[in-house]
Amino acid sequence: MSMSTDHPHVIDVSNLSISLKNDNNSIAITRDVSFSIGRGEVLALVGESGSGKSVTALALMQLLGGNLSISSGQIVLTAIDGYSADIAKLGRNGRQIEAIRGARMGMIFQEPMSSFSPVHTIGAQIAEVVTVHEDVGRKEARRRSAELLAKVGIPDPVGALDRYPYEFSGGMRQRAMIARALVCGPSLLIADEPTTALDVTIQGQILDLLSKLKDELGMAILFITHDLGIVAQMADRVAIMYAGSIVETGSVREIFRRPSHPYTRALLEAVPRLGDIDERRRINPIAGSMPNLFEPPSGCRFHPRCPVAVHPRCSLERPPTFGSGGRLVECIHGEAELAR
């Protein structure tokens, strides 16, 4: 998992596996996930529903709940202020991880509707993040919150501080959510499908806002989405996830021009051709369905759906990973594909 970009890495994830413990047996939800993101870089994590994108995002902040836990791997955060730690070792609770959450890493979720408490004001919920992490008074925290609200484009930011979430529209709420995630100037922003619940025009505005803020604040973004259109617009690099593994990574250009994994190709073919721009370019169903994680296929997990599978090899052993740096493919044809 060596360097791929000229940016210093903010986060370096290597061989991250997450498992679900269930009546004494444990099921792997993700296997050996590795990626890294540099300053000012956007990595898009793409994959079908249930492939493990959200779980990975939550693991980065030690937010896995219930029976899910990190079973192996490293998550090395190197914040802009020089702070560095392996999050996988920090455990779910405690001062250290709390000092990272919200301050060095921010997260925004898919549902702007329910991500705010309905009975607290927007201002209180943003200012809280400041007072939790920094030794500042309430006045200062409020001022900072208003500043951020202005930055994310909320009109009358000072007045908005005292309004309640239900007084905001979905788009406004998502802006406020971004303000909350960014108010302490994090080095990494995790955005888990931040625009899925919004309509198309608002979606565009939010994406523009995120790009602008990224350039302004110089943070790294892990951007999770289904939508390859958004990927093309937002991301610098892409990681394709299938059934809990990252099967291919590369720059946007490489992935769109020369997809090397059969799954990536299938994803791209499922997208309407360039030109049908109005379409919401969601991933259309690919023949077959996502494997049941409780009974995963042997060997390459994609083999039951793979058009170029080599029998019986693909169903017997896990394929090797080819490539180097930021360009990796996990497929037996990987070497040939990359060389093409």
């Binding site: 529903s49 549902e111 509707m113 329910s114 309905p118 996502m290 409780f294």
Partner: protein, 383 residues
Amino acid sequence: MDASAQAPRRRWWLFRRQPKIRRHDLASQWQLMWWKFRRHTLAMIGMVLLGLFAAMVIFAEFISPYPPFERNPAYVAGAPQIPSVIDENGNFRWPPFVQGLKAERDKKTLRLNYVPDPSVKWDVGMFVKGEPYRLLGFIPTDIKLFGVTTEGGFMHLFGTDFTGLDLFSRTIHAARASLGVGFVGVVISFILGAAIGGVAGYFGGWVDNIVMRLIEFIRSIPTLPIWLALAAMLPRDWSPLATYIAITVILSLLGWTWLARTVRSKLLATRQEDFVLAARLSGCSDTRIIVRHMLPSFMSYLIVDASIAFPEILLAETSLSFLGLGLREPVESWGVLLFAAQSIRSIDQAPWLMIPGVFVIIAVLAFNFLGDGLRDAADPYTR
């Protein structure tokens, strides 16, 4: 206003589970409920307890060693006698026995005290001969479940009251009136609730509005004082049976609101559903639609409500009778028996008079357990 109308809760990770056909998908609604219910340990305990109560009601004469109104002048306000198989020397003895007793007058207080008479032991046996009675009301017999076999001996498992009546036999018999009030009360509440709630839910509009206001009103007034006042208005010279019926009606008069609410809201919800529409299009009458199509679709919720209403009525009757405003002798309910335990003086002398209260608690617990199990079983969102 409604607290449940909060931001939608999404267990967002639950959405993508792979569906798999299991036994569940092929079972009927009732079968499904039964499977869920069976896994609810407390509910099963409740069922067993209620089974025991049912046996008590049906076989009261058989279970109780004495008729409920037979005085034992030789043992007044006597403590419970517990049979034992270990004698005073620590030796095993069969058959079980209770210690013989003799009365002694306390020199100072002049009260009769009963002290053990070590020379006398009374044997206890099963299926012994007692007073003749009719089992189930028509089979003449004189076999009792248990009793003392020694001539001249007696055994009062729960002791006796201030008139020498056997508290155990009375408690067993009192299950009839107590559970009877609860049962009849629930039936009346059920009918009232289903009728009123049905009308409100089916017609909607202003009818619904009036009914809802009425329910809200009844709910916002404290029930016990009203019950007390209504019960106090019953003429004293009514026969015990008339009083019994009147008390039951009074108790259900204020208890129907829960059922009515459920019926109404479910009716409003199902009114729009396809099968009702289909029934209406095919020309069914209103009553027929309500009774044949809509009621069965939410029967399970009504049963849950009924199982919750039952203990409330039982508790209310007990409280009323305890205060002397509910049922009265010669009708026996647990509350009536507890009436004797009203003053601190009497419970200080004979604390066992509170035993019927234990039966009330167990009965209420059994119904609450059952209600919880039913509620979980009827809720399609629990597994």
